[in-house]
């Protein structure tokens, strides 16, 4: 089991209230990082306190395949961006893969997800096709949104993927609305929404916390805490000491987990989904993770030392998954075999996207409105 900060009987981590004055006293000077919210926490240090059942090796292999697919697609996209094939702000999920994969495998068909501009891993984890995804990022007609949305707006309703967002935290109430729809219709669908640590400081987050808790919406708030908001570490802009404890004040269950470990993520999201389906309301999950690449394509990463990244690499989702597979007796060769297969698959996906025609200029004017003036849902 992982190290545990402390726990209550319901199996959800709890801890004493922030002692406001002592917290204030412990405040860092502007320019120095505090002990607790810091960039050198390792994901594996996250507090959890619930059973993490071992997943079948078959499933781990599938997860590994997904993780490598995401990683290689991101690398391919970075290369394409460097060549000028991709414009705008492209944020890769390198290092974040396990958060999406663990969650996707824990949820059901029919459940909903919304996420951020850093949403490629969610898209692929939820089943979107890499070729069409790359085409979308490149602005080609075979993109799932015909090249209109691009990297920041992954969407695929058939997979339950209800949209990514370029505005920090804007996708959070969208998921609450999806959860509300499920609740009002008496369905057992659950919604999950992903956001970053920086999103905590957008007002709409809190508004949504409060409503979701009050209405007991079947909603999972999943914070991918990579310790940075663009180029600014979280301790520089907040006194909040433990993100996962913070939403407690709204009357919500919360957990802090290793977001780089697919089994842990899977267990946490399963638990949260169970609570949601049982009518117990929303859960907040803080997945400790790390962004192993720049904030976006072209980021020179002057704001963090290379050693920090190297250190975190060892705890990254791929390293964790490979170690798991080995401990299950999967040999190096089989793993390398997957790597190669995926490499081919991603090459093909890139080729598909590059061959995809540009959209017609006339496409510009479509999709502003639904054309039929009235209609039923």
């Amino acid at each position: 089991m992982k190290p545990v900060k402390d726990a209550n009987s319901a199996g959800i981590v709890a801890r004493d209230a922030l002692q406001s004055d002592s917290a204030a006293a412990a405040q860092p000077e502007e320019s120095s990082a505090p002990a607790s919210i810091t960039t050198d926490v390792l994901p594996s240090d996250a507090a959890i306190d619930f059973d993490v059942p071992a997943l079948p090796t078959e499933m781990l292999l599938e997860m590994y395949r997904k993780a490598v697919t995401i990683r290689l697609m991101e690398n391919a996209l970075l290369a394409a961006a460097e060549e000028g094939q991709i414009g705008g702000a492209m944020h890769t999920a390198i290092g974040h893969e396990a958060n999406a994969i663990g969650a996707a495998f824990a949820l059901r068909k029919g459940d909903y997800i919304t996420c951020t501009y850093r949403g490629h891993h969610h898209g692929l984890a939820w089943g979107m096709d890499p070729g069409r995804a790359i085409a979308e990022v490149m602005g080609r007609s075979d993109g799932f949104a015909k090249g209109k949305g691009g990297s920041m707006h992954f969407v695929s309703p058939e997979h339950g993927m209800m949209g990514a967002n370029g505005i920090v935290a804007a996708q959070v109430p969208h998921a609450a609305g999806l959860a509300l729809a499920s609740h009002l219709r008496g369905e057992d669908r659950v919604a999950i929404t992903f956001f970053g640590d920086g999103a905590l400081f957008q007002g709409v987050m809190h508004e949504t916390f409060n409503i979701a808790a009050k209405w007991k919406l079947p909603l999972i708030f999943y914070c991918e805490n990579n310790r940075y908001s663009e180029m600014t570490p979280i301790w520089r802009t907040s006194s909040i000491e433990d993100i996962f404890l913070f939403p407690r004040s709204y009357g919500m269950a919360t957990m802090q987990i290793d977001g780089n470990d697919v089994e842990v993520v899977h267990a946490a999201v399963s638990l949260a989904a169970e609570r949601a389906r049982a009518g117990s309301g929303p859960t907040f999950i803080e997945g400790i993770t790390y962004r192993l690449a720049g904030h976006m394509a072209g980021d020179l990463e002057t704001y963090r030392p290379p050693e920090e990244v190297e250190k975190q690499e060892a705890y990254g989702p791929l390293a964790v998954l490979r170690a798991k597979l080995k401990s299950r007796g999967v040999d190096e060769e089989s793993i390398a075999g997957i790597d190669e297969e995926v490499d081919d698959l991603v090459d093909e996906a890139v080729a598909f996207a590059e061959k995809s025609p540009w959209p017609d200029a006339a496409e510009t004017y479509r999709d502003v409105f639904v054309e039929a003036a009235t209609g039923d849902a």
Partner: protein, 328 residues
């Protein structure tokens, strides 16, 4: 036909659409247990229960965003903003999200929701509770804008708006709430299509194109200039600002040769300027005198009765402008 108030007409439209379609629900502040600050949603909680009429905290950003989410899976939320000024509080959700969502998703999703509430001056609510916001809504593509002036239109257009698969801003006016007008009996269904203007007064010299409460002012102004100066105005009620039924306007201008657009949102970059610009794009040959527009003076509405009257583009200003135009 029976007569009813504007508020009652809206209440009936909501009730009938909620009965017709289970996916329709209402969400907003004080709308349920209390029945709405202006009593527009009165009795609906009793009839439909807490799962159809949702009382929210003062969290406009969140509940607007939630409406979007619910709409993408086929619910039909009707969001009340207590004052349309609060559009600015939820502006990201309305203009960066709701208006763009269908487009950004390449048409994969649609957002059938209605944002409704009252706006406008005349009751001394001051700068943050009186502004008319239709030009702001009209500036951003992706959202329909409806602003009825009569109980009849309010009911028929709201029913259509709720059934429309696009987001619709449904702008009521506080000065209209207690006005009465004809409407078919409750439950006698009728729908008014969006984007169809209505000629409310026939005339030959000047076309006044307007909507919402300004329509009433324009009609009065038309009487005055007719009686006192023998100038005959044709008054067109646009009813919908997006889409805008310019065809009906040009037909009228074809007779009069003169166009005056009037609305209560700020004149600057307003719907009136837009209509003038379109007139010169689409029908310049019809204009025998320069087209004009009137809107709110460039000040945030003051509380004092005297100042508020001065700022609003109402009757006297319409009369004065029509006279200037007729002189040309």
């Amino acid at each position: 036909m029976r007569r009813t108030t504007y508020i009652q007409a809206i209440n009936e439209a909501l009730r009938e659409e909620m009965q017709r379609d289970e996916d329709v629900f209402l969400i907003g502040e004080d709308i349920g247990h209390y029945g709405g600050l202006f009593r527009v949603t009165r009795n609906l909680l009793d009839e439909f229960g807490e799962k159809r009429v949702l009382d929210t905290p003062i969290s406009e950003q969140a509940f607007m965003g939630m409406a979007l989410g619910a709409a993408t899976v086929g619910m039909r939320p009707v969001v009340e903003l207590m004052y349309m000024d609060f559009t600015l509080v939820a502006a990201d959700q309305i203009f960066n999200q709701i208006a763009k969502y269908r487009y950004m998703t390449g048409g994969l999703l649609k957002v059938p929701l209605v944002i409704r509430g009252q706006q406008g001056g005349g009751k001394r609510y001051g700068s943050q509770h009186s502004q008319s916001i239709e030009s702001l809504y009209a500036h951003f593509p992706g959202i329909r804008v409806v602003a009825p002036a009569t109980p009849y239109d309010a009911k028929g257009l709201l029913k259509t708006a709720i059934r429309d698969d696009n987001p619709v801003a449904f702008l009521e006016h506080k000065m209209l709430y207690f006005t009465r007008g004809e409407a078919p009996p409750p439950d006698e269904e009728y729908l008014i299509p969006l984007g169809k203007a209505n000629v409310k007064r026939v005339g030959t010299d000047v076309t006044i194109a307007t909507f919402s409460f300004c329509l009433l002012e324009a009609l009065e102004a038309a009487e005055i200039v007719e009686e006192q100066h023998g100038i005959s105005c044709e008054v067109v009620d646009l009813r919908t600002v997006e889409p805008m039924d310019t065809e009906t306007v040009w037909e009228s201008v074809a007779k009069t040769g003169r166009l005056l657009a009037v609305h209560e949102s700020y004149a600057n970059c307003g719907v009136g300027a837009e209509l003038v610009a379109r007139a010169y794009e689409e029908a310049p040959e019809l204009l025998r005198a320069p087209a004009r527009r009137l809107g709110m003076a460039p000040v945030s509405i003051p509380v004092s009765r005297v100042l508020e009257e001065e700022a609003l583009p109402w009757k006297e200003e319409i009369v004065a402008t029509v006279l200037e135009m007729a002189r040309r």
